[in-house]
């Protein structure tokens, strides 16, 4: 469902070429739930932007839902849903309900289908209490639930979330996680999220992609991840180890000798 | 002299310096503003040249004086903040942070004035000089008649401008729609400061009124001092008078704002 083949992305900052992402290759199969981890500035957001068509890669090839995001941006937009944890895709001054209605019209979702989906989502995400509230007055947790609803109204095959649980309290986090798990399990929606919260990884994902210095530093299951540091009790320590290990080595020529391997696609 | 008093004396220059530095970080915006002010200056100059060709000597200016007037007033837009704003106060009132400002031992108005003088000094250099230089290159500008008096007049103009903007900003405490107020202030300032046309050519009683209002102290009067079309002593006294009135009014409003915000809690 998501394919990256030798994807690279350079930026020119003050006449110096910076490699934000280099030679990144991975595949996420349909129906998978994958998390993309990595320290700040590792290239996660750049990767997300290339997958969603906001940014054009400088090298390599990306295919999402069968489309090249940078060439077929609009067509892709109808097949994927995107959620940004740090900013909203809703209209700040409009009530949530009006924002969702606008999304419906922009994505040309049939009115009847919209009503059914909204009812379902309102039930699952408990939106009822704040559908009439302007988005700027929503709490972060309410806003995030609204944003997830907006991203799913057109029933996309892929949902990409950039730090969806950032800043949420324990209860909101649990609600969002629970919803995403059900979405993936019951509807078969492919989910890719980035996060700094390892609780997201442990509770949601079987698959972990660890990006550091713009490269894929680890690709495997959560259990594989634990196996890289058998002595460690918590997954936080394991990941901290990985980050530190790759920081200890210089950026060139290769970050860290970590077990990077491709998972065979679970569904063909 | 108590040590506390000594600290207060050095506080305000320091605040002015901070104001200067804070605006220096937005140098690209300032240069873009200077560019815009210059382009508009050229356009306005041609309109005035056409008017003065039809009516030579109008309002006591010759063509060269009218052109100089145009570029001077364009140069004043930045330092005198003729389009309004320049103060953080409205945002701080809306967010409630102003309560913190009002309980500080230093008076809020003096605090803001110091920062604003620093801002004006920076914008005088970065947004004031480019339009004047381009004007001089394209049209040739008249030299200042009394440079020292002109500088004093510019400083007093900034104080009058601050006094007015402070009142407008503080009114946010009582008026819900501060955007409407800002627009009203901008209309009054741009029209009655002499920015759009010299007040000297406003006809009859309307002209007398326009020349007596505080806004004329922000652009018309300093420009007249520069051109020698106003007697410096009287001009500076006029500006100082309005500065005193507006600052006093602002001080009264600060007291009222403190009672409203600190005692009633917003």
């Amino acid at each position: 469902m998501i394919e990256a083949d030798g994807v690279g992305r350079t930026f020119t900052v003050r006449r110096q070429v910076v490699h934000a992402v280099r030679d990144l290759s991975f595949r996420v199969a349909a129906g998978e739930f994958a998390a993309c981890l990595g320290p700040n500035g590792a290239g996660k957001s750049t990767t997300i932007k290339m997958l969603t068509g906001i940014l054009t890669p400088t090298s390599g090839r990306v295919t999402v839902a069968g489309l090249d995001p940078s060439r077929r941006r609009t067509a892709l937009a109808r097949r994927i849903g995107v959620v940004f944890g740090q900013r909203t895709t809703l209209w700040w001054d409009l009530p949530l309900r009006d924002s969702l209605e606008l999304v419906r019209l922009l994505y040309k979702v049939d009115r009847k289908v919209f009503r059914e989906r909204l009812d379902e989502m309102a039930d699952l995400l408990d939106l009822g209490g704040f559908l009439r509230t302007p988005v700027r007055q929503l709490s972060l947790g309410q806003r995030m639930r609204g944003d997830i609803t907006a991203a799913l109204l057109h029933d996309p095959a892929v949902l990409v979330l950039d730090e969806p649980t950032i800043g949420l309290d324990v209860v909101s986090k649990a609600e969002v996680r629970d919803f995403l798990r059900r979405l993936n399990a019951e509807r078969g929606t492919t989910v890719l999220l980035t996060t700094h919260d390892l609780g997201d990884v442990e509770r949601l994902c079987r698959r972990v992609l660890l990006i550091d210095h713009g490269r894929l530093a680890f690709d495997g299951t959560v259990d594989d991840l634990r196996a890289t540091a058998p002595g460690r009790a918590s997954i936080e320590d394991v990941v901290a180890d990985l980050y530190l290990r790759s920081r200890g080595t210089p950026r060139t020529p290769h970050p860290a000798p970590l077990p990077a391997r491709d998972l065979p696609s679970e569904t063909a | 002299m108590s040590p506390g008093h000594g600290a207060a004396v050095s506080l305000y220059p320091l605040l002015a310096w901070y104001g200067f530095r804070r605006h220096a970080t937005y140098w690209t915006a300032a240069l873009a503003g200077a560019f815009t002010n210059t382009v508009f200056g050229v356009l306005r100059a041609y309109v005035l040249i056409a008017l003065w060709q039809a009516r030579p000597g109008l309002g006591g200016y010759d063509v060269a004086a009218a052109v100089t007037f145009t570029f001077l007033t364009q140069a004043f837009i930045g330092p005198m903040q003729l389009f309004g704003g320049g103060l953080d106060l409205p945002q701080r009132i809306r967010s409630g942070d102003v309560a913190l400002d009002l309980v500080r031992p230093a008076p809020l108005q003096a605090w803001c004035l110091s920062e604003d003088l620093g801002r004006a000094a920076y914008l005088f250099a970065v947004r004031g000089l480019p339009p004047a230089l381009v004007g001089a290159l394209l049209f040739g500008l008249a030299a200042p008649r009394a440079p020292a008096a002109f500088l004093a007049s510019v400083v007093l103009g900034v104080v009058v401008s601050f006094g007015w903007r402070y009142i407008v900003a503080l009114a946010t405490c009582w008026v819900m729609d501060d955007r409407g107020l800002a627009t009203l202030s901008m209309v009054l300032t741009t029209f009655f400061s002499g920015l759009m046309l010299p007040l000297a050519i406003f006809p009859g009683w309307f002209g007398d009124l326009a020349r007596a209002l505080p806004w004329s102290a922000m652009a018309q009067v300093p420009a007249d001092v520069y051109l020698g079309t106003a007697e410096p002593g009287g001009a500076l006294a006029f500006q100082a008078g309005w500065a005193a009135v507006l600052i006093a009014l602002g001080a009264l409003m600060t007291g009222a704002a403190r009672r409203k915000v600190v005692i009633q809690g917003g």
């Binding site: 068509g53 994927i80 900013r87 409009l94 | 508009f40 041609y46 056409a50 008017l51 209309v187 006809p203």
Partner: protein
């Protein structure tokens, strides 16, 4: 694209209409602020009978036509000049993940219907000028054509200014010099300006086709530069050509954004 625009604009209009009093006041404010320009013209003509060879009614015609064109462009597409804010706040990213034209989304974002106040003020001035001038029917048909072409030219300018902001994200004010500067420039007969400037405005940045050339045709006056009287009839063609250039520049801007990720 039109559908997206209409949708978003309608939503914002409904949002604005919820605060009826505020909406009325701001619309009246826009009317009054526009009236300030006409006050300046009034002061000028209190001092002289003609400005660069044009009488008050003729200047009012030129002013009314260009300001109406500008106000319409500003009402419908003026928000394109907020593109640098969208770039800095990251909201352009949000627009790019939607299946709709980013141009329509930026132009319609925070659509402010109160700007109609400014258009109304300009329309009043234009109406008064037409009533005083008694222009023959054979030429008066050019007035609506001139306003429409002018609106397209100003829209193209707003778009070019927006495209420029992809390069000058930190200094969006530079673009204002062209859009608002262009509007101010056209308030007066171009004969007040130096002939070199007027040539530049005819052949390079074709602001002379907003109201000057077609205005000369409507008024039945010869062009000071000696161009034939039918030059004014070219306004619609010039407007479309400039719109095409602006569309290309905008596309280039979006492409640059997606390839630099600023």
């Amino acid at each position: 694209m039109i559908r997206t625009y209409a949708l978003l604009a309608w939503t914002w209009t409904r949002a604005a209409a919820q605060y009826r009093l505020s909406f009325t006041l701001v619309t009246l404010g826009a009317f009054v602020v526009g009236g300030l320009d006409i006050a300046v013209i009034w002061v000028i003509f209190a001092n002289t009978d003609t400005l660069a060879g044009f009488a008050l009614s003729e200047v009012m015609l030129l002013y009314g036509a260009s300001q109406l064109a500008f106000a319409l462009a500003d009402l419908l597409f003026g928000n394109v000049d907020r593109i640098s804010q969208h770039i800095r706040a990251g909201t352009l990213d949000v627009m790019l993940i939607r299946p709709a034209s980013p141009f329509a989304q930026v132009a319609a974002d925070r659509f402010s219907p109160h700007r109609i106040g400014r258009a109304a003020q300009a329309a009043v001035v234009l109406g008064v000028a037409l009533a005083r001038l008694e222009i023959p029917l054979g030429r008066v048909w050019m007035v609506p054509v001139m306003v429409a072409s002018g609106a397209v030219i100003f829209t193209a300018l707003f778009t070019l200014g927006g495209a420029l902001q992809f390069l000058l994200t930190d200094a969006p004010e530079v673009a204002n010099a062209f859009t608002y500067g262009g509007a101010m420039l056209n308030q007066y007969p171009l004969s007040v300006y130096d002939a070199r400037i007027v040539r530049g405005l005819t052949f390079v940045l074709p602001l002379a086709f907003v109201n000057w050339q077609p205005g000369l045709y409507v008024l039945g006056r010869p062009d000071p530069l000696g161009l034939p009287s039918w030059t004014g009839l070219l306004s619609p063609a010039v407007a479309l050509a400039l719109a095409a250039v602006a569309a290309l520049a905008w596309r280039a801007g979006i492409r640059r954004y997606r390839s630099t990720g600023s």
